[in-house]
């Protein structure tokens, strides 16, 4: 029997009972529609989740200098001073998974405005990309620019806590602020973020161009002091240029006997990976790039430390996996329910059409012809239900996104899978009734009342 004719016979048989076909299809329609809607809404939700995680720093990688060790005495974390702007540029050039990078310097000091003073948690020197990388938004004024960074301009952006403590109800934008007795101009106020995961007030911060922090404030790159003392033993310490140092000398005031430090070292480097999923890959890329930049031979240990909020990345991964599994379960259950509906109706249909089957056999249909006919009927019903379900689910998720403001992204994989799955449901749940029909004895079937 020609394939096309089998399909046609099946279609005719289905069309003979439209109400029943519609009701049977409904199970599959609802199943597939819920799969599509859930997948699309779930995809949107998961996109938003990963954006939120990124804002919390899930895709942030920090690079710190290595440990300086002299005669078995370790100077503690990040005590070596061997990270430079050259390393940063090298990483950006060599690591495709790294989206952006900023040097990251920290100093401590007192802030003074008028008659008030305040000691903030953080005074950080960064470049203009930092605001996006750390997810800062500007409440008032503007962030500083690449030009400010290049010039080493004495401008800064302050957090909400400092604005409140020093300026009260006044607008701080355009006002002066003294940091360690150096006058900086405030260009912007950051939008409040609240406490971070450790409970530290993130808004208690002042952010300035790293060049200005490095050259005009005391204490930046203070690790260079111990680095200087270990230079002789740390053979791999970078010989850096003094591009950014200019004429300002960096004598360490706390230790007047130490030799002058001429390194343009930076405290640490902050990097952003393309996404939180690739943080681990990005870390290994950065590690390789830095080893190259520092010309480390294979037997030497890393002279730097790379850290990421790994638990965040893991959490994100397991979150996405849990979500996907949950959706799969829902999809599975609804499709099984739909499939059993199909099987039920096909069994009824076989019983009801016993005489027809007997007749078809009497005029020369083989068992396999009957099997094919019923199997194709159930597949056609399922595929029809699948298509209607895909459309219905799509409309549903679109409507939800409109009314509830949920983010929705179209999932073509979901559409393809649903189509395949509905065909599979048709085959699996249609096979038993079809097999039952094909096994009928023509004599018995013809006599069936």
């Amino acid at each position: 029997m020609k394939k096309l004719r089998v399909v046609k016979t099946a279609l005719v048989a289905i069309a003979r009972n439209p109400t029943r076909t519609f009701l049977t299809t409904l199970g599959i329609v609802i199943g597939i529609a819920s799969v599509i809607a859930l997948m699309e809404i779930g995809q949107g939700a998961s996109d938003v989740l990963s954006k939120n995680f990124a804002a919390m720093g899930a895709n942030t990688i920090r690079v710190f200098p290595g440990i300086a060790q002299t005669s078995g005495v370790s100077s503690g974390a990040a005590s070596r001073a061997n990270l430079t702007m050259k390393d940063l540029e090298y990483i950006l050039r060599e690591c495709p998974l790294i989206k952006s990078a900023t040097p990251f310097l920290s100093v401590r000091g007192q802030l003074v405005y008028g008659g008030k003073n305040w000691s903030p948690y953080f005074i950080n020197g960064v470049n203009e990309k930092y605001f996006d990388m750390a997810g800062w938004k500007i409440e008032e004024g503007e962030p500083f620019t690449a030009g400010h960074v290049k010039r080493g301009a004495k401008v800064c952006v302050i957090g909400e806590t400092i604005a409140r403590e020093l300026y009260g109800d006044e607008s701080p934008v355009g006002k002066d602020i003294r940091i360690q007795n150096v006058v900086f101009r405030i260009v912007g106020v950051l939008k409040a973020k609240g406490a971070n995961m450790m409970g530290m007030d993130q808004d208690d911060c002042l952010i300035a161009p790293w060049t200005a922090v490095k050259t005009r404030l005391r204490g930046a790159g203070r690790t260079s002091i111990s680095a200087a003392s270990t230079t002789t033993s740390a053979a791999s310490t970078t010989s850096a240029t003094d591009t950014y140092v200019g004429s300002v000398s960096l004598y360490a005031p706390a230790l007047p006997n130490m030799p002058p430090v001429r390194f343009s070292n930076i405290d640490s480097i902050m990097l952003t990976a393309e996404s939180a999923d690739v943080v681990y890959d990005a870390i290994s890329q950065v590690g390789l790039a830095l080893r190259e930049a520092h010309k480390l031979s294979p037997e030497l240990d890393d002279d730097f430390r790379i850290r990421a909020m790994a638990e965040f990345a893991d959490m994100l991964k397991s979150q996405t996996r849990t979500m996907a599994n949950l959706l799969l379960c829902v999809a599975f259950i609804s499709l099984i329910v739909g499939g059993i509906g199909i099987m039920n109706i096909m069994l009824v249909s076989v019983t009801e059409r016993t005489r027809e089957i007997g007749l078809r056999m009497a005029v020369g249909a083989r068992g396999s012809d009957i099997l094919k006919q019923f199997l194709i009927e159930s597949i056609v019903i399922c595929l029809f239900g699948g298509v209607v379900g895909i459309i219905f689910g799509h409309v549903l998720s679109f409507a939800l996104s409109q009314f509830m403001g949920w983010p929705v992204s179209v999932s073509y994989t979901a559409i393809l899978i649903s189509f395949g799955v509905s065909a599979m449901v048709g085959i699996i749940f249609g096979y038993y009734p079809a097999w039952k029909a094909a096994r009928l004895d023509p004599i018995e079937a013809l006599r069936y009342e």
Binding site: M1, G358, A362, V363, G367, P442
Partner: protein
Amino acid sequence: MSLIKLDDIHKTYFMGDIALPVLKNITLSIDRGEMVALTGASGSGKSTLMNILGCLDRPTSGEYWLDGQEISKLDNDGRADVRNKKIGFVFQNFNLLPRTTALENVIMPLGYTAAHLSQKQMVERGVEMLTKVGLSDRMDHEPSRLSGGQQQRVAIARALVNTPKILFADEPTGNLDSKMSDEIMRLFREINEKEGVTIVLVTHEMDVAMCAKRVIKLIDGEIADDEQVKERRL
């Protein structure tokens, strides 16, 4: 050479351990172009014999030659092919597909083996058959809108669509009144005489049996009587 040759056919049903012989020692031959009536009381085995002759059932023992081919050893698919190519069936209760037009009912068997025919050729054959049974004006009617006699004509057209060598009719007039019965029997005779199709009727009505050329009477699974009809009805 005879079209049908039965040699010592036995059919025994088993109800648990009890053997129930339905056909015993049937030896019979039917020539091409014959019109035979199988008669007998209910339970005499005439339907069982027709099922075996129609390749719907297998004998327990014995040989069955149809058109020079030994049938009794064929498997299900083999018998399905024989049914499709050589045999046409007409049933007491017509067995038409509901909600399907007369024409589609007639061409249904072509779908199974006549793959070489195009849809158009199939329809042409269907129209030809319906015209032959006098229903050219009822092609698009569904069975529910046809009278009993008309339904049986559609069934006959369907049985003939594959140009079978032999036509089996199981109580073809059982559901019809006498006027309709006569019409149908005339049609059978016409087919037998004009087309040369061998016809085997199963009936318990003597009126109908007397329309055939030869009557075979079964009693308790054995051939009791086999004679030519001297005075044919109609």
